[in-house]
Symmetry: none
Subunit: 415 residues, 2 copies
């Protein structure tokens, strides 16, 4: 079964919002064996919508339209779909009553243009909207299925989950299951080099890799019968990929590196504190983005000035003068310092040059030192990162999370 | 001039990422008089890409393709575009040299598959990529312009801004100029209420408002001849909006609230330090995201535990026991404490309940206290925020930046 997702709305073509509806629907349909082959976006224009819909019907079995179901004159999806399918619009009394109730419950007057939302192409199945006023619908037409959903994601998602997914799941013969293997510390081209023969040789499961924000994700997707288990096909491929990439693979359930590091901190009951310079609080912010982190996270200090490094962390003036704030020696003293001050199991530090200013010939933009202090010692790492300020700061954080992960997985490597 | 944006990449059709590139490009092109009429997304499949490109060329003057320029076998955009345009691919020696240099500078070996990125459709203009390895290109073909850009937004955006926008701007007869008035502290419906007659009454400039991440942006867009000045049309509208919304308008050049606050710190030469609890480093991270901030930003401490609040900031045990960590009293002692410890002009604090855990009947999720300590005293503010953890943390930061802005603009209000 091939699907196409067609979003209707000039606000998308003006760049006011991203088409997150297409992303959401696309991430869900493969699970019930439906492949998404195209996304399209078209404005609130009947002629162009007609052409796009006709094209979609010529190449897909399922066409899901989002947007254009509201009360205003710009909302043209139902009218246009009805015209293409040569069906008339008929009033649905239940929709009308629910809409009246919606407004009554909120003590708001229902303006006349809302009535439009109770008219539907003849012969469709109506999808109730529990969080807004515009219902959607499913239309079966000459072997094609056309689904109309409202544009606001907060309305679209529950309608999609409660009605559309079950509707298609009951019709599908097979399922797709995907595993996402996430990799840090190896570039995309090297990852591909290492698993090229697997990518080339497989048809089920299929394997694809892509790079994003400093890491690589390998997707392994299996197609299997409705009552089977996709993991039977996926596991052997996972094993082979892990054999080749080793512990660069940090998760197989799409968990981010910070989540993996946090989970290990929870599991091993290790407390942590952070001393940051160039990342400026980002490291702490990412760690504390994980709910429940207060169990293991004690404190962070962001020491931009040399004085604050000395006062807050006990970095020695001599060290700063001799080696500079961006040096392995300073990173080590920061990590040891924050661990001592806070009394946590682990102390982490980052110091570096994120740019655009602050670089010298010996210390270029992207030079970053990180250190991890623990009961038995301290380990430092020198990094050469590249990109703009935001990218360097983000990459530095990923390297720290990876360091935490590696320390908690194999502490013996840190002695 | 009509444009169509065609994104290439199975990861988009699998819902792994949203098509933010289309949004970005769509938000920029209208400013130089180019309307975007369609977005399309197609997978890494030569046949379907060919068909989509042919369709785009039949209905648009400008086709911008994003993605599929990388080193892997999945990357098929250049090859497919060349096939549709019946051009051969030729090696660009400059691209090859730059790529070799890129790898050499990073001490990484260039794998063979990278070579692919130095081949281009014959007769094109190459767009250099300063943040990655895959260059893009512009092809003029039978009155149509086809632009190829890489998929990662961090590479696509600078290439689009530095090369593609100037390229099209030089060809266009008229210009659109937009001013973005950003507003904090008034809800979207109240903003719209206040300026509804302006929105309804105008055709040039046009006025539109939209809410995002806790603030409201009002866009004022003027269309004017190439050699004119759009600001002549925009300024009177700006003045009227400011008259109605007062100092809730914090910028007219699309500067974010943190940038406005940082600029005032630079201008007034005031140093700042930060004490955070629920925002967990996010406040410091956002401040230090501003290049050059080290001039005024001294340090931040993220005190999650009560002990760290006492040790790092001198918050009194009695205060924590009597009023709790989330209280006006604690916020005040945190702000005063960080200002004393660091010796800065301003000390800022945030403490609150970001959820999902930690709430009580008296202290619900979203209860946040902020305080600003200065030479002559300290001012605290109680906030009732709503949304999930990320939203509450983000809103708390915005309120702090607004507090800094207001203090530096009218310090007399803080006495």
């Amino acid at each position: 079964m091939k699907a196409e997702i067609l979003a209707v709305g000039t606000e998308l073509l003006m760049g006011q919002i991203a088409n997150t509806n297409a992303q959401y629907i696309s991430s869900r349909l493969p699970e019930i064996g439906i492949g998404v082959y195209y996304h399209g976006v078209v404005g609130d224009n009947p002629e162009r919508l007609k052409q796009s819909l006709r094209l979609a019907m010529s190449r897909a079995d399922i066409i899901i339209l989002t947007g254009g179901l509201g009360p205003t004159q710009d909302d043209i999806t139902k009218e246009t779909v009805a015209a293409v399918l040569e069906r008339k619009l008929v009033l649905d009394r239940t929709s009308l009553e629910q809409m009246e109730k919606f407004f009554r419950n909120r003590n708001r007057e229902m303006t006349k243009n809302n009535l439009k939302q109770a008219w539907f192409p003849e012969g469709c199945t109506i999808i109730r909207n529990s969080t807004g006023t515009a219902p959607g619908c499913i239309i079966e037409d000459k072997g094609k299925t056309i689904v109309l959903l409202p544009g606001p994601p907060s309305e679209m998602k529950p309608m999609f989950e409660e009605t559309v997914m079950p509707y298609f799941a009951s019709k599908s013969e097979y399922r797709l299951e995907s595993m996402y293997l996430r990799v840090f510390g190896i570039g995309e081209s090297s990852v591909e080099d290492a698993i090229m023969d697997l990518i080339d040789g497989q048809t089920n499961p299929t394997i694809a890799s892509y790079a994003r924000d400093g890491e690589v994700t390998i997707r392994v997707t299996a197609k299997y019968p409705k009552n089977g288990d996709g993991m039977d096909l996926i596991r052997p491929v996972e094993d082979e990929i892990r054999r080749r990439l080793g512990d660069a693979v940090f998760s197989n359930d799409n968990s981010s590196l910070v989540k993996v590091a946090a989970k290990l901190l929870f599991e091993k009951k290790k407390t942590i504190s952070v001393a940051e310079s160039c990342t400026g609080g980002l490291l702490a912010a990412k760690l504390t983005d994980v709910p429940g982190i207060s169990e293991v996270f004690d404190r962070a200090v962001v020491t931009y000035s040399n004085r604050s490094k000395m006062e807050q962390l006990g970095v020695r003036q001599e060290t700063l003068e001799r080696y500079g704030a961006v040096s392995e020696e300073t990173a080590v003293e920061m990590a040891v310092g924050i661990r001592n001050v806070s009394g946590t199991d682990i102390g982490i530090s980052v110091t570096g040059i994120a740019g655009p200013g602050g670089a010298t010939d010996e210390k270029p933009i992207g030079l970053v030192y990180t250190a991890l202090a623990h009961r038995d010692g301290v380990t430092a790492k020198k990094l050469h990162l590249w990109g703009n300020r935001a990218k360097i700061r983000n990459m530095a954080c990923l390297h720290v999370f990876d360091m935490i992960r590696r320390y908690l997985t194999r502490p013996e490597d840190f002695n």
